[in-house]
């Protein structure tokens, strides 16, 4: 085909006719089911574009899915009505040849790694009869220590996403891998003759040594080929900052456990970015609030938008992004560095001085962190301060950067586009990523791409970029392919597949192997060759090395060595930047759910309430209360942003703690081709994002459009109404009066107020849980881990809007505004709320059919199959932790989703109540195991899903009757209390109050 013809304009007619045929043959429900499965096919999108262009995005979003399920409720109803008729025959299908080591019914765990934002997170993947069903952290992995973040938990759903690409596409038409390799090899022959002149490769900058090695070897066959890398969430600022300070790029990572004072500059180091999970753990351990604790670290946060880190801060200052550098300068000068600093407003001034003093007082035990989104100058200032205070080497260390690339990402991509424009690119291989969607706006990458003679896109979904390429090759999921990846500190993990590619995907390694002329060489061979070479081992030794690496999930001794760096003698920060103009500033951030847009079609993440805002199924333009008042804006008002001739429409959401005059918008929404769920959700922030200023732009124009957009949040009321639900005290008060510090002004904190009831005796085990509010950072990992473990369905935006979300554990977020201070100084407390498993459970007494009763070990059991759905229990639950299937929410249709389900947990159907069970399936398995081994259960042997995933170990589960158990010990802490215990519910889930460590110089404004 000719260059002029763009595949986008040539929808796949053959496939469309096929679809028409299939649909016309179907009737009734069957029609919808068929339609749903078809909708997963890429050709279906084309069909939609053809049939009703305007409808296309709105045709099969989440709500419609629910609509289908609704209709199917009828058939379920019939099943129920026929209750007296006998069970239908069921087939039982064994293996023909059983694989080795597989015990039917017993799960197995495999170590692997998931890569995000250029760094790997070590994981253990639970596999049931060959189906990966759940992801846990790998305790041996430095970035995980057994925990994961929410995104890693959701990866399992991405694996089974029915909207994943199912086959190679040539110009949008279904084609085969061999056809692709055939066409590609021809071109490669020609290119090889030209020494690779005209061959360009754009990869997504993941941290795989083997991939890097392959790319390096490319020069042997194609000396003149060019390799570029683009990922929208890059470390360009960090890199520039390091070069500014040290004259070279370095990787920087922190030892928060050693830091007593931390100053975070526009840095969400607990919430996102490489190592966040590990940093959260270290940080929490640096501030364990326990009786008799000697001390507690103190976090100063300076940021433009309220992040999880800011929410954890003991002292927080909201500044516009452009003001952060000035603040950093002020701190530096206060520390006696020869840096020019602008004048700050009164509070910022005091804040800077206080922070500086604190850092000065803790030389070598302090730490200044500049965030991924902070300007290079801020990074350089942070480096300087750390260097001068002797923190470098103590609380942080420098290594070689994970990626040794010639250029920063933005520059790299610009170079590629320039090549293309200059017609220097004949063949472009895009390995992963989605540049047509997330490239800097000024490049018009999509436009440029369309002019490349031959373009190939390797990706998991048929996305915006695939639509522009001649060839789309389905990419294998990390859980489907061999590979390797490096953690933030350089440690390498061998990525091993848990399952053969569901939809015949290929990994970048395989595609590159083909490009390198190694034919159909498997990623496995490539990997082993590379590591045989790297390890210098052979034969049995190598096999042992290999087995250990696979088993442990880490390759021993691959952590990046520290490097000695010194400040440039010529380092000069020059004049302080002009103070911000009156105009608005727009800060751009990667999203907690979609990240850079890659997870847009992940229903779990879309329905996971975003940190702080608790919004679902949307991104919104965050705006401070005062600014909103000035602009007469309310939640949901759609505004138009304009900057340098670029425009963007977004609904606003008012957030306290947002720096006034600053707007924040998260990346990763407004996808045009993300699949049935993600397409058209939210607004595309990339429209205003340039390579020059990737993280914030100044002088943004804001115009009200008068339109409204419904934004849905799971928490409609922001304050605790002085009910001392999530209790907070200062560390000093706690030390002075451990018991009194967290006592509420009214109500009681005693767990079991007197009762007329004799109370049930609990000999043997008595399960309980303690949640340490002081450790909880509100990262949502527990919510989604619970969702994965317990087959919790998603319900869609509309249902959430109606208060019907299904999460078994939720995180309540309460704002507290210190008396007489401005909105920016709001503080936040997070409170995870699972079922309390009350000993005097109000829900049980009112159930007319006994569908919820108590177990002999004190579990509040919910028996789905007995439940008729009166919802009385939910009304009577003071904690409102019960969830009801108002519709048949669980997807009983989509085959691939069935594979993900945990076989040990019932999939609930329409009309039944459900709630947290303390992961009773895990309790039972552990008990049975212990019984079989004829030994008592050990403390810590049973780990609930939420506990396992928690990065800060805020959740502890165990036997409260066992004096020695961790949970029993925590229940003896002075600041231990039961939520609403004064109602006499005797909750088994209890809390440790949150402790703040404010700076005396700042507190009491």
């Amino acid at each position: 085909m000719t260059n002029a013809e763009s595949p986008r304009t040539a929808p796949d007619l053959r496939a469309i006719d096929a679809i028409r045929a299939e649909l016309s043959s179907a009737r009734g429900d069957d029609f919808w089911h068929r339609l749903e499965e078809l909708s997963a096919r890429p050709a279906f999108q084309d069909w939609l574009q053809q049939e009703f262009p305007s409808q296309a995005p709105r045709f099969v979003p989440a709500l419609e899915r629910r609509e289908f399920l609704r209709l199917m409720g009828a058939s379920l109803g019939v099943v129920g009505l026929a209750a007296c008729t006998r069970q239908p025959d069921e087939r039982i299908v064994p293996f023909a040849r059983a694989p080795e080591y597989v015990v039917p019914g017993q799960p197995r765990y495999f170590a692997s790694a998931l890569t995000l934002g250029g760094a790997a997170l070590g994981v253990l993947v639970e596999s049931h009869m060959g189906r990966p069903t759940k992801i846990e952290g790998n305790p041996d992995h430095p970035a995980s220590l057994g925990a994961t973040d929410a995104l890693a938990q959701a990866a399992i759903l991405s694996l089974y996403d029915p909207d994943r690409s199912h086959s190679c596409l040539r110009a949008g038409q279904i084609d085969t891998w061999s056809a692709f390799t055939g066409e590609l090899s021809g071109r490669l022959e020609r290119l090889a003759a030209l020494q690779g002149q005209g061959l360009s490769i754009l990869h997504a900058g993941e941290s795989s040594p083997t991939l890097a090695d392959q790319l390096a070897r490319l020069s042997t066959r194609f000396p003149r080929a060019r390799v570029h890398r683009w990922t929208p969430v890059h470390r360009d600022q960090e890199r520039a900052g390091a070069e500014l300070a040290f004259g070279r790029d370095v990787g920087t990572h922190y030892h928060l456990d050693r830091a007593e004072v931390v100053l975070a500059l526009e840095a969400d180091l607990l919430g996102s970015g490489p190592g966040a999970v590990r940093y959260a753990r270290d940080f929490a351990h640096g501030r364990l609030g326990r009786a008799g604790a000697a001390g507690m670290n103190r976090l100063y946060a300076v940021e433009s938008t309220l992040s999880l880190t800011g929410a954890m801060a003991d002292e927080r200052l909201a500044l516009r992004p452009s003001e952060v550098e000035g603040f950093a300068r002020r701190v530096a000068r206060e520390l006696g560095l020869a840096v020019e600093a602008p004048a700050l407003d009164a509070f910022a001034e005091r804040f800077a001085v206080a922070a500086a003093r604190a850092l000065d007082a803790r030389r070598g035990a302090g730490l200044v962190v500049a965030g991924r989104e902070a300007d290079p100058a801020v990074h350089a200032l942070a480096h300087t301060i750390n260097y001068e205070l002797g923190n470098t080497g103590a609380t942080l260390e420098h290594t070689d950067p994970l990626d040794d690339l010639a250029r920063p990402a933005a520059a790299d991509l610009r170079a590629l586009v320039e090549d293309v424009r200059a017609r220097r690119v004949d063949t472009l291989l895009v390995l992963g990523g989605n540049p047509a969607y997330d490239a800097p706006a000024e490049l018009d990458f999509a436009g440029a791409l369309a002019s490349v003679p031959f373009r190939v896109h390797l990706s998991a979904q048929v996305d915006e970029t695939s639509a522009l390429c001649h060839w789309h090759v389905p990419e294998a999921h990390a859980l489907e392919s061999w590979g390797d990846a490096r953690a933030h500190d350089g440690t390498v993990t061998i990525v091993q597949p848990l399952i053969a590619p569901l939809f015949g995907g290929k990994s970048a390694l395989e595609l590159l192997a083909f490009v390198l002329g190694e034919g159909e060489k498997s990623a496995y061979e490539t990997l082993r060759e590379r590591w045989r070479a790297k390890s210098g081992l052979a034969g049995a030794d190598f096999e042992r090395f290999w087995r250990e690496a696979l088993h442990d999930g880490v390759v021993a001794g691959t952590g990046a060595p520290g490097v000695e760096v010194h400040l440039r003698s010529s380092l000069d920060f020059g004049a302080s930047p002009a103070t911000a103009t009156g105009g608005l500033e727009l800060a751009l951030r990667p999203d907690a759910s979609t990240f850079d847009g890659r997870f847009a079609n992940n229903a779990w993440l879309q329905e996971l309430p975003r940190p702080i805002t608790r919004l679902v199924w949307d991104n919104a333009l965050l705006i401070g209360p005062r600014t909103a008042r000035e602009r007469e804006l309310e939640n949901g008002d759609v505004v138009e942003l304009a900057h340098e001739g670029r425009h963007l429409r977004a609904p606003v959401w008012v957030v306290p703690g947002q720096a006034e005059g600053t707007l924040t918008l998260h990346l990763g929404y407004g996808r045009r081709r993300a699949g049935a769920l993600g397409t058209g959700v939210g607004c595309d922030a990339y429209a205003l994002r340039t390579g020059e200023r990737p993280w914030f732009v100044t002088g943004v124009e804001l115009v009200r459009t008068g339109e409204r957009h419904e934004l849905v949040t799971v928490q409609k009321h922001p304050s605790q109404e002085h009910r001392s639900l999530a209790r907070v005290a200062t560390f000093d008060r706690f030390r002075a009066d451990p018991l009194g510090a967290t006592r509420p002004e009214h109500g009681t904190s005693e767990l079991a107020p007197p009762s007329l009831y004799p109370g049930f005796p609990y000999e043997g085990h008595a399960w309980g849980m303690v949640i340490d509010l002081n450790a909880c950072i509100g990262c949502n990992a527990c919510m989604i881990a619970c969702q994965a473990e317990n087959n919790i369905p998603v319900v869609g935006k509309g249902q959430v809007a109606n208060g019907r979300e299904m999460h078994w554990i939720r995180i309540d977020r309460y704002y507290e505004e210190p008396a007489g201070t401005v909105d920016e100084r709001v503080t936040v407390v997070h409170q995870p709320v699972p079922c309390m498993h009350c000993e005097n459970a109000p829900c049980e007494v009112v159930c007319p059919v006994g569908a919820t009763v108590h177990s002999s070990e004190g579990l509040n059991e919910m028996v789905y199959n007995r439940c008729v759905g009166t919802r009385y229990c939910s009304n009577n639950c003071p904690y409102k932790v019960r969830r009801f299937n108002f519709f048949p929410y669980a997807d009983f249709e989509t085959e691939s989703l069935k594979l993900q389900r945990n076989p040990d947990v019932t999939v609930r159907s329409r009309g039944v109540m459900e709630k947290c069970t303390y992961c009773v399936q895990r309790i039972n398995q552990a008990r049975i195991q212990a019984q079989k081994e004829e030994r008592p259960l050990r403390d810590g042997e049973i780990v609930s899903a939420c506990q396992a995933v928690c990065p800060t170990q805020a959740i502890v589960f165990g036997d409260v009757n066992d004096e020695a158990s961790a949970v029993a010990r925590l229940r003896k802490e002075p600041h231990h209390y039961g939520l609403l215990a004064e109602l006499g519910t005797r909750p088994r889930t209890t809390y440790l109050a949150k402790l703040r460590n404010p700076d005396a110089e700042l507190s009491g404004t």
Partner: protein, 216 residues
């Protein structure tokens, strides 16, 4: 005024009032009987199978141990249905050409499993663990009946909830020495109540009546 009704109506009307009450009771009773009937529980109903596998022949005839085929019964919740390979282990030598076994050979060659009809099929919301029951000295035949006398397999227990509870309320009644768990000839009268109770105690049998024991 003339009579409206024939004298017989007097009896009729009296009977019908009593009848109504009686009919109601009968209906409820009938419903319950239906639920407990073999029609619903499929007790004693031999089930057609793709291959007419005879436990009688393999167990009584050849004396093959249960675990030879149901290999994971001691370590897993699921006792395990043998892969075709297990069948072929013998039937590649004996009866290698029997027409009856054609599906087995076909399955082995095509590597496509045999779709057996499930005889003991619990509802999806009920979770049962074979390994722990075996460990606590509950024998196969206690629930599965004398499979050694079944040419085609059938249920001997209703698998109704009250049937499960009967045993969980009095486990000692069904406990046998671990050595005899897989013994199809074990006779419950082999032990007296005291001995069974002692056995149950020594096995630390903790039969639980909590809902979450089986429903989660």
């Amino acid at each position: 005024m003339a009579q409206i009704f024939h004298p017989s109506f007097n009896t009729l009307s009296k009977v019908s009032i009593f009848g109504a009450v009686f009919f109601l009771g009968a209906a409820v009773w009938g419903w319950d009987m239906l639920l407990r009937s073999p029609y619903n529980t499929q007790v004693d109903v031999a089930r057609e199978q793709p291959v007419p596998f005879s436990h009688k022949h393999h167990v009584a005839g050849l004396g093959i141990d249960c675990r030879f085929c149901h290999s994971s019964v001691e370590d897993s919740s699921f006792a395990g249905i043998p892969p075709t390979k297990t069948c072929m282990g013998c039937h590649s030598m004996v009866w290698k050409d029997a027409a009856m076994l054609a599906p087995v050979r076909e399955s082995f060659q095509s590597d496509r499993p045999i779709p057996w009809t499930r005889v003991h099929d619990l509802p999806d919301f009920a979770y049962f663990d074979h390994s722990i029951h075996v460990k606590k000295g509950i024998g196969c035949t206690t629930c599965h009946g004398q499979v050694d006398e079944m040419p085609l397999t059938w249920r001997t227990a209703t698998l109704n909830m009250d049937w499960c509870l009967d045993c969980h309320r009095d486990p000692a009644a069904n406990v046998r020495p671990r050595a005899r768990v897989f013994d199809v000839h074990w006779d419950a009268r082999g032990l007296d109540d005291a001995e069974r109770a002692a056995l149950a105690a020594s096995y630390d049998v903790k039969s639980r009546l909590d809902c979450s024991t089986c429903h989660r």
